[in-house]
């Protein structure tokens, strides 16, 4: 279970962690390799995708709204609870979700979603 602050993200299926650094790069004439120097970290970016699975459309609407409200520029503790990744402070942004109405059946409404979590200090 992936926890973000005091909330558990619903039915997480995949968590992709990207760690990148800021690299200064200057090409040099007639040189095979450019001048490259490491500057600093860009912080981790975690892309979490999963499914909202609810029995009623009202519950679906509530969970979607909850995800949207969590994108409020507030840093919360992200815990992937995978036993290896340490917790980090992160902000949730860019929720994306798909209302796949053609696949909806009564009492089983599924909404694939993904959110991006940006590590902050």
């Amino acid at each position: 279970m992936v926890r973000f602050g005091d909330y558990a993200l619903p039915h997480v299926l995949e968590a992709q962690i990207q760690k990148s650094r800021v690299e200064i790069e200057r090409t040099i004439p007639h040189r095979d390799v450019a001048y490259r120097a490491d500057q600093t970290t860009r912080g981790r970016t975690v892309r979490v995708s999963g499914e909202i699975r609810c029995a009623t459309i009202s519950d679906v609407a509530f969970m979607i709204e909850l995800l949207r409200r969590l994108s409020d520029d507030t840093a919360r503790i992200l815990d992937l609870e995978d036993g290896t990744t340490s917790t980090m402070n992160a902000k949730l942004t860019d929720p994306v979700y798909l209302l796949d109405t053609a696949e909806w059946v009564a009492n089983d409404y599924r909404v694939p979603y993904s959110v991006t979590l940006l590590e902050v200090a």
Partner: protein, 197 residues
């Protein structure tokens, strides 16, 4: 349209739910009406989880009447407000869209991202761009396709989602690919951008 609204509060740690409501009573003989305020308190266990809170909150919304529920958390409060008029139907300007297959919705944020030497970056959310919709479906009517193209007119249109959520949108791009082998089935796909009321 069926009118229904609900107001929900969710919080991580909740011990009591204090709900108030008003019952309207009418005497069938004298035809006199009186309002009777009612209150109720529900006590939850200390180890309540978010899912339980959400479930309990929605249990309050099954009644026909509008119910206001107030939750008193120990720490932190996240307000979630859901108001809907009709569900399980996608419509634009109160006209139901035919055979909607999927709605892709994304809500991007504008994030200022500044690297800091030997430290984690400074990341600040400066705002949101509003929701972007891509709606796919099909119809068996060519005139419906023409109607859909007509929505890309630069004007505001009221889009209602199957979840009951609604907002004003600009329809920016309507695509109607015609596949010769699919006789009498005309696919459509259009993009819409949320705009302020």
């Amino acid at each position: 349209l069926h009118s229904h609204s609900l107001l929900l509060f969710a919080a991580p740690e909740i011990e009591d739910i204090y709900a108030t409501d008003t019952l309207s009573l009418t005497d069938a003989i004298t035809d006199l009406t009186s309002e009777l305020p009612t209150t109720d308190t529900v006590t939850l266990t200390d180890a309540v989880s978010v899912e339980q809170i959400l479930g309990d909150s929605f249990a309050l919304t099954e009644a026909d009447a509008t119910i206001s529920a107030e939750l008193y958390p120990n720490e932190g409060l996240l307000l979630v407000e859901v108001a809907y008029r009709v569900q399980d139907e996608t419509s634009i300007d109160a006209v139901a869209l035919p055979h909607v297959l999927s709605l892709s919705i994304q809500e991007s944020s504008v994030v200022q991202d500044l690297p800091v030497m030997d430290a984690l970056p400074y990341r600040k959310q400066r705002g949101k761009q509003g929701r972007r919709f891509t709606i796919r479906g099909w119809t068996d009517s060519l005139s419906t396709l023409e109607t859909l193209r007509g929505y890309a007119d630069g004007e505001k249109h009221l889009l209602m989602l199957p979840t009951g959520d609604s907002m004003n949108v600009h329809v920016t791009d309507v695509r109607t690919p015609e596949v010769v082998e699919n006789y009498d089935v005309y696919d459509y796909e259009f993009d819409a951008l949320e705009v302020v009321d």
